[in-house]
């Protein structure tokens, strides 16, 4: 019954999505509002339908309906309720349904929130967002159905089909295979949904941009809606990337959080172009410039989202994150090609007609807009470098016949100077003015932050740091950080003439959310940057085999191996746990229990290495149990890392989230603008007729 409900609602959602595309297109072309309203209602209906479909699958997972292939492959009786629910995104078919549900949620949100304010764009927003949803639902219904079931033929063969083939009867396995062990981590509850939210969120800005191109409504209206939705998507992409890093740090046993893995990079690429857009869009809002470029950035971000989804799910890149090889590769490639051709075609059409021409031109070499343009150039250079590093194996195999791997040495060498340039720009841009800034004025404005950065480098030198690269990196990050703090301090100081400092700070952020939210984001990036610099350049590691009672020393810590123990968890995993004591000098600071979990029923990746770590703001003493003496258990091999400043990566991430939330929060002025736009829309009337 649940399965049938899931199938019917998914198919209905598919039909309605494509109906919305056609009705929206017809309504927009003929200017018949009735059709546009009908398209909107159809688009809105996809959300409850896909909610029912997703709930049907989740309930099947909880109930253990193992006749459903997806339920069998991602859950098992012994699994916790928690993991039975999160199995919705633990495999290809379920995560595609989840993707579709999120897409319908975002589309419904855009239709409800922007219906009045962006009325003229909405018919095409429906067309482009529903075409994307419709495509993913085609995959869900025809290629990778999460409701496909096992059937047994008369000769005992088990086949998989959505509907019962003639001459078969239901085949119901006793138990499921269970979730991939790597996904049995609390981080996996939040990491995939946030990343998907970021991916799916990028579809909405693209739909608005396409709507503007298709309708020719290329005033500032589309950019307002697009910026807000991009910020929402960017927030989730950032959160997904940071949580993914945390998951890798905890579960993958690399001793690190970022490995320049192709799937990590697939999520980073739209984040980079999205960040570039969030900066350059300000130039369009303020000066009416860079219209061609902003449109291009939105299109590139969307293409990178679909490319990332395609490469992760088709098996064209190998990664610990990627799904197994799947038949969805060819249709996804077709969609990617079609979406790219339509997007670029419309963009070129409007461009050559001169409808994306700049309203103003550059007034000075040194100005906020010139620094933002440089910022965009650096972001695009990083995008090109990361794209090439991720897809070079495919290109070289395709065109030269030799597959190469570009690993961390390549990425670190290429991106480090570019990130350094970004820190410089992050420091200079807030001090510059729109239009033109004189060199002397810029020099005066940056004097104190610059001196503070020089002071920081001097202190590091005094404390014995001699690595030139590290000194330079900390200096640049420090400069960007000091500029941000200096700007916040100046703002608070100006207000503090009239009110208490705490009140002044609160009101400053509350009344200038976009500016000071942006500063908080910059601070978050600086803190993350300091964490990355420290943990990359100064990471120490060692591997030793220790007998019980023996010790090893790394940095100022000494670790003593106590004993090994075995345990079995309720979900069937066999855990081998080492007990080690960590001393800072002579003081016992922690007892760690690094372990290896073995999943007897799991296929492929059946072992998980869980680190034990002693964390301080200064560093992480991070211990992995690598091997042990099976019979006597008298000795064990440990890999131990000392990761300086690594926790700043997570703290900086939180600051970045907070800043994004502040910047995205609507302020009173904006609410007033929205009311004004509504009035204007009402006064001018709808362009459509009923």
């Amino acid at each position: 019954m649940l399965v049938e409900l899931g199938i019917i609602t998914t198919v209905l959602a598919l039909v309605l999505a494509w109906y919305a595309v056609l009705a929206g297109l017809y309504g927009a072309q003929t200017r018949r509002d009735r059709w546009v309203l009908s398209a909107r209602n159809a688009a809105l209906l996809t959300w409850p339908l896909l909610t029912v479909a997703s709930l049907a699958l989740i309930i099947s997972q909880i109930n253990g309906d193992f006749q459903i292939e997806y339920v069998w492959s991602t859950t098992e009786r012994a699994a916790d309720l928690f993991f039975k629910i999160t199995a919705l995104w633990g495999g290809q078919a379920g995560s595609l349904l989840f993707w579709s549900w999120l897409m319908s949620t975002f589309a419904a949100g855009a239709l409800i929130l922007n219906w009045r304010s962006e009325r003229r764009l909405m018919p095409y927003v429906i067309v482009f967002s529903m075409a994307t949803l419709g495509f993913f639902l085609i995959l869900n219904v025809l290629v990778e159905s999460p409701f496909a079931r096992f059937w047994q033929t008369a000769n005992g063969e088990v086949v998989t089909a959505v509907f019962q083939p003639v001459g078969t009867f239901p085949a119901i396995p006793q138990d499921g295979r269970g979730l991939n062990p790597l996904l049995r981590h609390p981080g996996m509850v939040i990491h995939p949904p946030t990343l998907y939210l970021g991916y799916v969120g990028m579809v909405i800005p693209w739909a608005f941009a396409m709507a503007a191109l298709a309708s020719g409504e290329l005033s500032t209206s589309w950019i307002r809606a697009t910026r807000r939705w991009t910020l929402v998507a960017w927030l989730f992409l950032s959160l997904g990337l940071i949580l993914g890093g945390r998951w890798a740090y905890d579960v993958l046993g690399w001793g690190g959080y970022w490995g320049w893995d192709p799937v990590e990079n697939a999520a980073l690429l739209p984040w980079l172009t999205g960040t570039a857009f969030l900066h350059s869009v300000m130039i369009q809002e303020k000066k009416g410039m860079l219209k061609v470029w902003n449109m291009a950035l939105v299109i590139i971000s969307f293409i990178l989202v679909i490319l990332g989804t395609f490469s992760t799910r088709s098996g064209i890149v190998s990664s610990v994150h990627s799904f197994a090889q799947s038949p969805i590769g060819p249709p996804m490639f077709v969609f990617l090609a079609l979406a790219s051709v339509v997007s670029i075609g419309l963009w070129l059409y409007r461009w050559q007609r001169g409808e994306l021409a700049s309203e103003h031109h550059l007034e000075g070499w040194l100005s906020r807009e010139s620094l933002f343009i440089l910022n965009n150039m650096v972001f695009m250079a990083i995008t090109v470098a990361v794209f090439w590093g991720s897809y070079a194996p495919i290109f070289t195999e395709l065109f030269i016949g030799e597959k190469i791997t570009l690993g961390p040495p390549y990425f670190n060498s290429v991106t480090a100077p570019l990130f350094g340039a970004l820190f410089i720009l992050m420091g200079l841009a807030p001090l510059s003015a729109w239009g033109h800034t004189s060199l002397s004025r810029m020099g005066r404005a940056m004097l104190w932050p610059f001196l503070a950065a020089v002071g920081l480098v001097a202190i590091l030198l005094i404390f014995g740091m001699r690595d030139v690269g590290a000194l330079l990196a900390f200096g640049l990050a420090g400069f960007a950080g000091f500029v941000t703090l200096y700007e916040i301090w100046r703002g608070v100081k100006a207000r503090a003439q009239r009110e208490a400092w705490a009140v002044a700070a609160w009101k400053l952020f509350g009344r200038n959310r976009r500016r000071y939210g942006g500063y908080l984001i910059h601070l978050g990036v600086v803190v993350i940057g300091i964490g990355v610099i420290g943990s990359t350049i100064f990471q120490q590691e060692t591997q030793r085999t220790l007998a019980e009672g023996q010790s090893l020393t790394l940095g100022r810590y000494t670790m003593i191996y106590d004993r090994l123990e075995r345990a079995q968890a309720t979900d069937g995993r066999v855990m081998t746990i080492a007990n080690v004591e960590v001393y800072d000098g002579s003081q016992l600071v922690a007892v760690l229990r690094p372990r290896q979990d073995f999943f007897p029923n799991a296929q492929d990746m059946n072992t998980m290495t869980i680190a034990g770590s002693y964390s301080t703001i200064e560093n992480d003493f991070y211990v992995l149990l690598v091997a042990w003496e099976e019979i006597s258990q008298a000795s064990a091999t440990f890999k131990v890392y000392l990761n300086p400043l690594v926790n700043l990566v997570w703290w900086g991430g939180l600051l970045l989230m907070l800043g994004t939330a502040v910047a995205a929060w609507p302020d009173q002025d904006r609410q007033r603008q929205r009311v004004t736009r509504r009035i204007e829309a009402g006064e001018h009337g709808s362009p459509a007729r009923t």
């Binding site: 993958l252 046993g253 001793g255 490995g259 192709p262 190998s318 990664s319 610990v320 700049s358 031109h361 550059l362 007034e363 070499w365 906020r368 010139s370 343009i373 440089l374 150039m377 650096v378 695009m380 250079a381 090109v384 470098a385 090439w388 070079a392 194996p393 070289t396 030269i400 030799e402 597959k403 190469i404 791997t405 570009l406 690993g407 040495p409 390549y410 290429v414 003015a433 729109w434 239009g435 033109h436 800034t437 004189s438 004025r441 100046r490 703002g491 100081k493 100006a494 207000r495 003439q497 200038n512 500016r515 590691e541 060692t542 591997q543 085999t545 072992t607 290495t609 091997a627 890999k639």
Partner: protein
Amino acid sequence: MALGLVVMLLGASVVLAQGGGETTPPSVREVTADEVNAISSKLYCPVCENIPLDVCGTQACARWRAQVRTLLEGGASEDEVITYFVDQFGERVIGTPQNPTLNFLSWSVPIAGVVLGVVAVGVIFIRWRGQRGSAVRPAGESEEEATLDDDYRARLERELRSSK
């Protein structure tokens, strides 16, 4: 040099043929796990691509690490060990290609991207500066004020001046 490498590899293959795995063969010199990891971190196994050899948990990678150890114990340098694996399995096993053509290709794409970006930005700046209109400064407005078309910043500067 080449002869030495051949002898060393023959030695390694004998050890592996005896089911060497992680067991320690008769060694010429003591090799630590850290030395093995330092080289392994630069290698990628073709089976589990994109995971460096030093942190990969598969049996195949454990055998490769044992092979790195054996080669080091036989007296091979880091470069010789890496060259051995590239010869055996191709350029894909290292993070940056050894082959000069592939190496050039690896680095030239991002560098070309940066150069193109710089040229594009330069052209944009020059074109826009050439097209700029003659901005007339209102009477009585200082140069500093003229540069502050950011209303908020202008207000902030005024308030900070008044607080002095």
